[in-house]
Amino acid sequence: MDPLILSRIQFAANISFHILFPTITIALGWVLLFFKLRYNATSDAAWMRAYFTWVKVFALSFAIGVVSGVTMSFQFGTNWPGYMEKVGNIAGPLLAYEVLTAFFLEAVFLGIMLFGFRRVSNKVHTAATFLVAFGTTMSAFWILALNSWMQTPAGFEIRDGVAYATDWWAIVFNPSFPYRLIHMLLASGLTVSFFIAGLSALRYLAGDRSDSMMKALRTGVYTAAILIPIQIFAGDQHGLNTLEHQPQKVAAMEANWNTGPNVPLVLFAIPDEAAKENKYEITIPNGASLILRHSADGVVPGLNDYVGNHPPVLPVFWGFRIMVGTGLAMLAVSWAASWYLLRRRALPRPLAYLMVPMTLSGWLATLAGWYTTEIGRQPWLVTGILRTEDALGAVPGSHVAFTLAIYLALYAVLIVVYLGTLVHLALKAAKDGDESPLPGVLNRPLSQPVHGTE
């Protein structure tokens, strides 16, 4: 068995599984802070109830994020030692700053955020919630700085075959970093919006009309409706940035085989790399030229300029289309749901049924987007500096195959249990509604929050 392809699949499996959970915690931290601040401002217990419902999801997602993140920190050494040998001087400090400034912050204050409501003052609890949200976002900052540097390296020099940092500002704020960071933070926001909207819709279908559920539902739906057009714009800008710095990736995303003007937008095709052509093509004339160059005769780079140096076309082409397609579905669903919630103050059942599977739309779009950009970087691990095959360690293929098989089985089980638990928690909350006693105020009759009038 070829250890290169096995190690690649294993890394892809580990990081794909891992990214699902930070994608939730990054934005969910801020949503929890929003719930908490609304509670502080209104003293409406329904906000706190929404907080307690979703802090459980946060805890669960965070725990899986931590343990799968630990796996990531070992993967570099076990499978890709060449990576740190070549670019360790740059990747090292970025990873170190992630652990130091973000990981500890979130892990320590998580304890207070989860279990400390009755042990610390309300202000400290709010501050802990803020610090956890801030920590998850800082974590994204450093990791995306490193990932972007691998896509568009800057601020370094090569001496004796090893990369040395020359300008840390240029390394962190490398050309693709701002675009990728914003795109990912918005993706996290959308993933969480649809998680909250979808699981709230499930409760809605189960007959729950409790105040706390409706508050969460509206928060999810409105946030999604606001973020999705911003995300489409940010994604477009990110694409133009990629066109400038990694044209071969754009050529693969568009399955454009020949550089030239008047390039059509391919809506559907099966790219055939051997024949260098698209099968079963459906196109919009001049579409790609218009989108990428804003003129019908704009010149779009083609794969013929990058023979032997461009990524595999099929996964990049389809990864991109799945991401965009999911994004458009998100736009339609969130705007429709917003319209009904604003005008009718209710959801039609078919729409609610549609929103339940859309819970996972953010995950799908995020994974598809990451596959586009990461496979789109191949054959390079660090563009122009290190080829993926040259970073591989000396571990026998059979070992990698063995561990890969167990990882895949474990991840499959964990995803099923995770989603099953979320559904269980949602249905349990739907049954309890707002009748269950609010845990935070059980023993504090004197300071029980006054119910707001709505």
Binding site: V67, V70, F76, G92, L114, A165, G440
Partner: protein, 335 residues
């Protein structure tokens, strides 16, 4: 060679920082892994209390492992690759165990009640697997990342002993965090686990010098032998004192309930200092020194600048969190 030479000093500082985070990790995650191992002999109600005793801490405890491996990765990239490819399978088993226990910790409280027992078992299994894997890795590392049958056997012995010492840590933590019947049970657990802990430390202490002539010469020459003598003697005294204590715990009014835990932490520290002395200056035993394996000086400098600012803050807020959740563990609720 000037002693204020940054390329010389920085790797040394990072070796120290890495050692420190490994030690903190072993002590902190040691007690929560140990509590997972003790799950095997606890009843359902006790399990909930035991979880409550570590609930607010375990995420942060595990972060020290990420920091330790992170420092190995960023400060000694060559060693990171060499050690982790050599320990490929044990590392995988460690991660498998950590994933299982980490998710079980949360799932056991959130799944429907009739599935809770299953996740309790997984929590136990994951904790045990992770502890065994760490012990095995330590054993194999001590023998210079050897792969023969002797190394495997020795690794297995250290694995069992490290699991036992984690169980001892867990029991000591429970003595501090619980009361009544569970506390008395924890005292008995501590007494049994101490035997294996002592056995493990003696085994590692004897094996290390005999596995490597270089290490033998570091310990068994005069006058070094005299300077080093306090390490084993002090460890032995602390062991015996703790063993004797287990017949008198808990004290009246639960005084000094944290002492057993601190004593064990001190023993771990002494053992760790001994190991560090044996291996210095190597990061991969007898193959790579910390200077050969280190990153570029400028990269280390930029990490150090951040570390010096951030590490005290981390330690500060960690203490704060431990204080917030100080005292006896009660039922853990999200409030």
């Amino acid at each position: 060679m000037s002693s204020l030479d940054w390329p010389v000093i920085l790797p040394l500082i990072f070796a120290g920082l890495m050692g420190l985070s490994i030690l903190i990790y072993v002590v902190l995650d040691g007690f929560d892994l140990g509590i997972g191992i003790l799950f095997a002999t606890a009843d359902d109600h006790e399990k909930d209390t035991m979880i409550a005793a570590i609930g607010p801490f375990w995420d942060a405890n595990e972060t020290w492992l990420v920091l330790a491996v992170g420092l190995l990765l960023v400060a000694f990239p060559m060693a990171h690759g060499t050690i982790l490819t050599a320990l490929y399978i044990p590392v995988f088993i460690l991660l498998f165990g950590l994933i299982l226990r980490g998710v079980a910790f949360d799932f056991r409280a959130k799944v429907p009640v009739h599935r809770k027992a299953r996740w309790n078992r997984i929590f136990f299994a994951g904790s045990l697997i992770a502890s065994l894997a760490q012990g095995y890795m330590l054993g194999v590392y001590v023998l210079g990342l050897d792969t023969g049958l002797a190394a495997f056997t020795f690794g297995a012995l250290v694995a069992a002993c490290l699991a036992a010492s984690y169980a001892a840590m867990g029991a000591a933590w429970l003595i501090y965090k619980t009361e009544g019947e569970l506390q008395e049970k924890a005292v008995r657990w501590l007494r049994s686990a101490l035997v294996f802990t002592a056995l493990g430390m003696v085994a590692v202490s004897l094996a290390t010098p005999f596995a490597s002539p270089r290490i033998f010469e570091r310990w068994f020459v005069l006058p070094d032998m005299i300077y080093l003598a306090p390490l084993p003697i002090l460890s032995a005294v602390l062991f015996i004192w703790l063993w004797w204590q287990t017949f008198h715990l808990p004290k009246e009014g639960d005084r000094h309930a944290i002492l057993p835990f601190l004593t064990l932490a001190a023993i771990f520290t002494l053992g760790f200092v001994g190991l560090a002395y044996s291996f210095y200056p190597y990061v991969v035993p007898d193959k790579l020194t910390i200077w050969q394996a280190a990153s570029a000086t400028e990269s280390l400098a930029i990490i150090l600048a951040g570390t010096l600012v951030v590490l005290p803050v981390i330690i500060g807020y960690s203490f704060y969190a431990y204080r917030v959740f100080g005292g006896k563990a009660s039922d853990l609720t999200y409030d």
